[in-house]
């Protein structure tokens, strides 16, 4: 599930691709680092993007992003239900 010591393949953004497409590539590359964490980052990507808008940092948005991450991390620790539910 995790190999934090592993280095992802050196990522290069494709100039021909949109920002969104390059972000998808970026997130996919992180699965090699830690698949669980990469999913959390992907699920909360919109909240992360809201942290800096037009060069302006929004500390409240950062707090909200980290709060969502913390919740997701806690959920990760909860054992899966026997019926296969989360």
């Amino acid at each position: 599930m995790t190999d934090q010591d592993a280095q992802p393949t050196s990522l290069r953004f494709d100039e021909a691709k949109s920002f969104s497409d390059n972000c998808r590539t970026f997130l996919a590359s992180l699965e090699k680092v830690d698949a669980d964490m990469a999913i959390i980052l992907r699920d909360n990507w919109a909240a992360l993007i809201a942290v800096v808008r037009e060069g302006e940092r929004d500390s409240k948005a950062r707090g909200e992003f980290n709060s969502k991450v913390a919740s997701a991390l806690d959920s990760l620790l909860k054992p899966a239900r026997p019926n296969g539910g989360a």
Binding site: T2, Q4, P8, S10, L11, R12, F13, E15, F19, N22, C23, F26, S29, L30, V33, D34, M37, A38, I40, L41, L48, I49, A50, V51, V52, R53, E54, G55, R57, S59, R62, G63, F65, N66, S67, V69, A70, L73, D74, L76, L77
Partner: protein, 833 residues
């Protein structure tokens, strides 16, 4: 390829310095021309730039920087607009033939923004969002900051310029999200660490209690905390061995044992029947065993002796004649002893003679009574001192023998012995009673001892000690629960901490990955504009031995501006060496080079006062660069430029090119923020029509600012058209006196040319200027309104002023019939047609 758009029209009403109520400031821009807009300070040029900022970005940086208590929201709408509402209308023309787009942005008095599209665009706000490119709206501040700001800030600004704003924002967001300090706070790392420490400490405290309570219950030390389950079983077993507690422990795990209930049971047992029964048994035994001390043989001997004494008494009493004779004998003794009877051998009662001494007889008789009494006393004394009495007393009082008080005989016997009249039968009954009691003792004792033994088996040896044991058991149970709970808590919090640390490592790595990719992309873009901006810089500054160079850092967003060549020296700081104009020229070169490379929706660049630090020469070179190489369609990949300026020198350049192919010039005039702002293209005729309408309606005060505006416009038109020189301080003089300043400049120039004999005006024109039009304007406007004295003039007088200014302008024109039909033209100058 997406459509790109030119800005073709801007109409503003009620926004910032533009009042223009019901008469919007309406400026057209041409896609194929450089568009210049000139206005002296305070005429609303900045309001135009701010209107575009608000339309596209939804805010004005200048107002955004205000403190909240300054209520920036109150300064978007023009404060003199009666409705306190603003409207901004924009029109865009695509560069690929798709339909033009018109957008209308309204802001109401409450600060609410609404965006609509008269042309029918489905999502006008989204369209405006596509225009949010860093190069579309550029002002002096942006350029000045580019060089002056830190390499990091510059790098971020530049990212936006390169179309990499999203990447820069995302990189910063990742950096923000991976910042250790804030992350530690947001993820409550310290809270978790503290919780883990607290759980560990609590577990250790519980362990101390576990050790002591275990040892107290089992009598041996707790050595292996890994085997706490076994220890718990041992505690349960140890306590379960106690008879009283068996029912509470047998077959139960420690966790299931209700120590509270046990303690209640112990309390019940302590104060309960069995306990009391045992106590009673013990007491009974003690009491019965205490009876053993009585010597029953001695008692029997005493009883025998008392019996003999009773017999003696009875024999002696039998020798007497009862109490009556006793009293007779006693009386006789008294009679005799007191000398009342002296005849000792004669009966005092019958006087008969006696054969013996009466005294002897009386004494003998009384001696018998005395002997009998002595026996009675002896019996009494013997009873009182007897072991029998004590024995009987003890036995009758012994609770275990349960002798009812009414059945007890001791008191009655005491009385009998005291009176001395106890009979043989009485004695026999007493003996029987006594031995009846003593005979019960052994049996009762045996029973009590049996019960005691049974109770002792049933009851714990020491309830106090047991209570302590149970308490230790409870302590062990609670400590075990506490220990395990805290171990679980520690484990849970440690897991949360671990997964958060895992996230920290991950997000940090993710940030690095993104940053490296972003840096590589940025470097590629910089490389793409390298030749372009260097060439532009060279053309603007006309230098070849000062070569700037942008260097993007590998691991940061820092963008360093260096001079790769500075008069033969290399790699020097541009910030340290370049003057302000050079720095701004470099910034403009970089921005414009980047803008040309851009392929975003806006295909226009609005430059607001970007040449303020330039001298005339560098302004010229920049304008020429824009006009000849950057403006489309001269440059097929070029942009539409809209240049806003308040620079008087640059205005000369605009004026000269205005109306030529490839240049479209607008000049703003007016009296903001209360009056209207107009530009010449909007036509003085419209202004004059409005004035006439207001004056005919008697609305003099509303017409006055427009009249002033019209006068200034017409007078400056004369000055510009016939090239009348103005004093160097003309533009910076009190603008409230602009009409008289213009008149002074015009009349002085006319006078100068007349004296020099070079005046091209005909004599009638000169006479009309001197004697009619200028005096009329001075008399009916300048002397009244520029001094601020008096009330408003009448509408007819002000209508006359409008006519006078029109007539005055006509004095600087002539009829040109040289090319066919006669055309009314401005003189080229005061000395030339």
């Amino acid at each position: 390829m997406m459509s790109r758009y030119f800005l073709t029209r801007l109409a503003v009403e009620g926004f910032r310095g533009v009042n223009n109520e019901n008469d919007p400031l309406d400026i057209g821009f041409e896609p194929n021309s450089v568009n210049s807009v000139f206005a002296v300070n305070g005429i609303g040029k900045s309001s135009i730039f701010e209107a575009l900022c608000y339309a596209i970005h939804g805010a004005i940086p200048k107002l955004q920087s205000l403190q909240a208590q300054e209520r920036p929201q109150d300064y978007y709408c023009n404060r003199f607009h009666s409705k306190n509402t603003a409207s901004i209308a924009l029109e865009f023309q695509s560069d690929d033939g798709t339909a033009p787009i018109s957008i209308r942005i309204n802001r109401d008095a409450g600060g609410n923004r609404t965006v609509t599209s008269p042309s029918g665009h489905s999502d006008p706000e989204a369209f405006l969002a596509t225009l949010k490119e860093a190069f579309a709206l550029l002002d002096y501040r942006t350029f000045a900051r580019f060089i002056e700001e830190s390499p990091l800030e510059r790098g971020r600004t530049f990212s936006a310029l390169l179309g990499l704003a999203d990447y820069s924002d995302c990189r910063q967001a990742l950096q923000s999200a991976s910042d250790s300090r804030t992350l530690n706070t947001d993820l409550e790392i310290k809270v978790l660490t503290t919780a883990i420490g607290a759980a560990q400490q609590a577990a250790q405290q519980a362990l101390v209690t576990l050790r002591s309570s275990y040892e107290n219950v089992t009598g041996k030390p707790l050595e292996d905390i890994v085997k706490l389950d076994e220890c718990a079983d041992e505690v349960t077993a140890a306590l379960g061995n106690v008879e009283l507690l068996k029912a509470h422990f047998v077959g139960k795990a420690l966790n299931d044992i209700d120590f509270g209930k046990i303690k209640t049971a112990i309390k019940t047992a302590e104060a309960g029947e069995k306990r009391r029964e045992l106590e009673k048994a013990v007491e009974s035994i003690a009491a019965l065993e205490a009876l053993v001390v009585h010597d029953l043989a001695a008692v029997a001997d005493e009883q025998h002796k008392i019996g003999a004494l009773i017999d003696d008494r009875d024999r002696l009493l039998a020798l007497t004649r009862g109490d009556l004779f006793k009293r007779l004998y006693e009386s006789a003794r008294e009679v005799i002893s007191k000398g009342a009877w002296t005849e000792d051998e004669k009966c005092p009662l019958c006087d008969s003679n006696l054969s013996s001494s009466i005294r002897g007889h009386v004494d003998e008789q009384l001696a018998q009574y005395a002997e009998a009494a002595a026996k009675i006393s002896e019996i009494k004394d013997m009873w009182q001192a007897s072991a029998w009495k004590k024995c009987l007393s003890a036995h009758e009082a012994a609770a275990p023998l349960a002798v009812e008080p009414q059945a007890r005989q001791l008191a009655a016997m005491d009385a009998d012995f005291a009176l001395g009249d106890i009979s043989r039968d009485d004695l026999a009954a007493a003996v029987t009673w006594t031995f009846g009691l003593t005979g019960k003792v052994a049996g009762v004792l045996m029973t009590a001892q049996g019960r005691k033994e049974a109770l002792e088996k049933e009851l714990p040896p020491s309830l106090v000690q047991l209570t302590e044991q149970v308490e230790y058991g409870r302590q062990f149970k609670d400590a075990l629960k506490l220990y395990r709970n805290n171990q679980q808590e520690e484990s849970a919090q440690q897991s949360r901490l671990d997964v958060r640390e895992r996230w920290k490592t991950f997000i940090s790595k993710a940030t690095t990955v993104f940053a490296e990719a972003e840096a590589a992309l940025s470097k590629a873009r910089i490389k793409g504009i390298d030749a372009e901006y260097k060439s532009m810089f060279r053309e603007i500054m006309q230098v070849g031995d000062v070569v700037p160079d942008l260097q993007r850092a590998d691991d940061r967003e820092d963008l360093h501006v260096q001079l790769s060549d500075f008069h033969g020296q290399h790699r020097l700081s541009a910030r340290a060496l370049l003057s302000e104009s050079y720095r701004n020229a470099l910034a403009i070169s970089v921005f414009l080079a980047a803008a040309l490379k851009h392929s975003g929706a806006p295909r226009f660049v609005v430059l607001d006062d970007v040449t303020s630090s330039f001298d005339a020469g560098h302004q010229y070179f920049l304008m020429e660069l824009i006009r000849t190489k950057l403006q489309q369609p001269q440059n097929t990949d070029g942009l539409q430029f809209i240049i806003l300026s308040h620079d008087g020198l640059l205005e000369k350049y605009f004026d000269r090119l205005g109306g030529t192919t490839g240049w479209h010039h607008n000049k703003l005039q007016g009296s903001p923020p209360m009056g209207a702002i107009l530009h010449q293209a909007q036509g003085a005729d419209r202004l004059k029509t409005t004035i006439a309408s207001l004056l005919s309606a008697g609305q003099v005060s509303q017409a006055e600012p427009l009249i002033r505006q019209y006068l200034e416009y017409k007078l400056q038109q004369i000055i510009r058209r016939v090239d009348i020189p103005v004093p160097i301080d003309f533009a910076i003089k009190d603008t409230s006196r602009m009409v008289s300043n213009c008149l002074d400049a015009i009349t002085s120039a006319v006078e100068l040319h007349r004296k020099a004999g070079t005046l091209v005006l005909d004599s009638q024109q000169v006479q009309d200027i001197d004697t009619a039009h200028v005096p009329a304007i001075v008399g009916n406007w300048v002397s009244h309104y520029e001094t601020g004295s008096g009330s408003s003039l009448s509408a007819p007088v002000l209508s006359g002023v409008i006519k006078s200014i029109d007539f005055l302008a006509e004095c600087f024109k002539y009829d040109d019939g040289s090319v066919g039909a006669t055309v009314r033209k401005w003189y080229r100058s005061l000395s030339k047609r």
